[in-house]
Symmetry: C2
Subunit: 416 residues, 2 copies
């Protein structure tokens, strides 16, 4: 009987531990899996043999629930990219897996992690080693192909939409005209930024302009649009992706580099701050109240606004990954296919990792309208079901209780 090893990689999301919990629960219910190991900090920790016994640390129903409702990676993460050609590192991984009698390997992550899982799967096959490798998708950016959406996205999108509702209320308390610009994560794909559209409800009309990275950003057209909106709205709310680029392909916030502050240090600024300065300096003779807001990493770890649908699906995808490995699959990722939208119904599907790795799914241009300042009803329909359902995070005295693994209790091969 083989052991299983699971690891997490890439950037944080609110749902990545839900997939870990799902995979672990499925494995513990199986007679074909002996022990469940976790590698710390993805491949980076694996190569240092930083391996813990997950099954020994997550036992009770409360443990599973706490883990599911803890954002980011309980096991830690890395940004480690395997070389394209199998080299020493590949052999080291194989040796470690042999030492720990690992027959099933699961990598939870985004694009790069799917690539890693794919390469290892091919290498193990070529070496005649019976180690199944399955990828479990996660990314708040929602930019993986061959899956309707990625676990983690719905929760981050819910945080974005709810925050826009709140920021809109904040920005509209005064009777004086104002422009508020909010910067949303997503370097190349505008899915998260588009999610701000859901804040338009119950008589609230913002965000009034939505800028995705899929469309080149034109500063002059932007200022004109803001001015037009100010003619009919006292308080204009703008959503902008951190990754918007000028027509020449350069990032808008790159234009902001080279600044030096009063201490002589280089200053850092996001795109929202750049647009704020633009509005401030060009409209209404500098007298317009402007503000930029950058919710930053809160978007990807805002567990208190996680989507119940997202966490459920993330857990399910983790469990299906274990099913797939037990059924003999390798080099596959668990994707989500939408069966119907209303009522919302999805099913999981195995997709070859090679078809996913190194591809990026951006927002279709046909879902962007109004000269690149808005999204269509198709986008709204696509997004709406992903937000549904509340979560049951644990609070103690009103404060979040998150799960923490003991990372000091490493397992040695001789302990097996």
């Amino acid at each position: 009987m083989h052991n299983m090893l699971i690891a997490q990689s890439g950037g944080p999301s609110p749902a990545i531990n839900a997939s870990l919990a799902g995979a672990l629960a499925r494995a513990m219910a199986s007679d074909e899996i002996n022990r469940v190991f976790g590698a710390l900090n993805g491949l980076e920790g694996l190569l240092k043999r930083q391996i813990i016994d997950l099954g020994a640390q997550i036992e009770t129903v409360k443990d599973f629930d706490l883990l599911t409702h803890t954002p980011a990676m309980a096991l830690g993460s890395c940004r480690f990219k395997l070389p394209r050609q199998a080299n020493d590192i590949y052999h080291q991984v194989l040796q470690i897996f042999k030492d720990y009698q690992v027959g099933y390997f699961f990598y939870i992550g985004g694009n790069d992690s799917m690539d890693t899982a794919d390469r290892l799967s091919a290498f193990f096959k070529a070496q005649g080693a019976d180690i199944k490798c399955i990828g479990i998708p996660k990314t708040v950016d929602n930019d993986l192909v061959h899956t309707d959406h990625t676990p983690g996205f719905g929760s981050a999108a819910r945080f974005v939409a709810a925050s826009f509702s709140e920021i809109m209320i904040d920005s509209s308390v005064y009777a004086t005209p104002s422009v508020t610009i909010v910067e949303v994560m997503g370097r190349n794909a505008g899915w998260l930024t588009a999610s701000s559209v859901l804040a338009r409800a119950h008589g609230f009309t913002g965000p009034h302009l939505i800028y995705l990275p899929e469309v080149p950003f034109d500063p002059a057209a932007f200022l004109k649009k803001v001015d037009e909106k100010l003619a009919c709205e006292t308080n204009v709310l703008v959503a902008v992706s951190e990754g918007v680029r000028l027509a020449d392909g350069s990032y808008v916030n790159k234009a902001g580099t080279g600044k030096v502050d009063g201490f002589g240090h280089r200053a850092l600024g996001g795109v929202a701050a750049v647009l704020e300065a633009m509005v401030c300096d060009n409209l209404h003779g500098g007298k317009l109240k402007t503000r930029s807001v950058e919710p930053s990493v809160l978007q990807r770890v805002g567990m208190h606004l996680a989507s119940g649908t997202d966490l459920d699906e993330a857990r399910q995808v983790g469990a299906v990954a274990v099913d797939a490995a037990l059924a003999g699959h390798t080099g596959m990722m668990v994707g989500i296919q939408r069966v119907s939208n209303n009522p919302y119904l999805v099913r999981t599907e195995l997709v070859p990792l090679s078809a996913v790795a190194n591809h990026e799914r951006t927002v279709p241009l046909s879902w962007i309208c109004d000269d690149g300042t808005n999204v269509t009803e198709e986008m709204v329909q696509y997004l709406r079901p992903l937000f549904r359902g509340e979560t049951h995070m644990f609070f103690e005295d009103g404060l979040p209780h998150f799960f923490k693994l003991d990372k000091t209790r490493l397992v040695q091969p001789q302990d097996l």
Copy 2:
């Protein structure tokens, strides 16, 4: 029988509408109050006779609950300061109150609003007009004197503490050393920044350094402290108040002004960005991973993390204000006194507005320790009860449902 008029002023908070709901509910249960009016945008809208019939728009239990769980000011706000000497404006307010048969006036706000209510109360007395004026405190800054804490603070503090928990998890997923600096609201008073201390729980050790505006900020000492912390923590988390000042009294983030970005615009940057650049340029040869986060206005409108205790107290304070006016008091504010800490018990108390207006309550220096980089156990005990209790915000399809008043249906004196 007289009418009552209520208005909101100053900056947003998650609890200010709860006080509005409490006052309205109490008034509607009274035989001594005829109609309940709301002035839009505080004194500014009042002077323009922008007055709506609140009682006609908030009727059902659901209306009251929705209003209670809607952040910022349903009536809108202003930053209007009455001149010290009674002038034309005072007479205009009196005339409007006479036209609308107002016998009770309530102003929900911070320092300046208490001053306004105080001046109007004295003026009405001097004019022999029987109009009772009561102040209802609110401010996320918690900087009013003669009250243990202010409605709105507990909710904002809960948002800050919970966000620090989440940001800490985000910042610690990688095995590489990092410094994350989070900027918290509070220009002169460090209460909100101090609240980040509550994130230290369940094995999480951050924030590791906490800088309040009450203590002068020394850049060299800061860099030394960060370096010391990096010797024992891989991922250092720093909480800093937006209002920290250098020994000469100048704001630390003012040092960042004068920057010009690539478009030739002035760049705006918070204190966290300034400290980030400091760390980046001075420690570990510029190779240290640093990040600044500025949750900005989300701190004061983050209704999804509002404290149940805070909203309950805010509603109670609103109701007691109406009781006080009906009992014949004027020129008073409703304060909160803490009777006991464990179990937590408070009572309300009337405080002369004149004793509150134009004073500011900052954090006692005796509650700040470790060379101005931490807060004491007294602070923790003070803060803990204010976070308790969750709220029951309304979600539809996973998104917040907030209350919105119809501000177009203005009441005219001839309608009375």
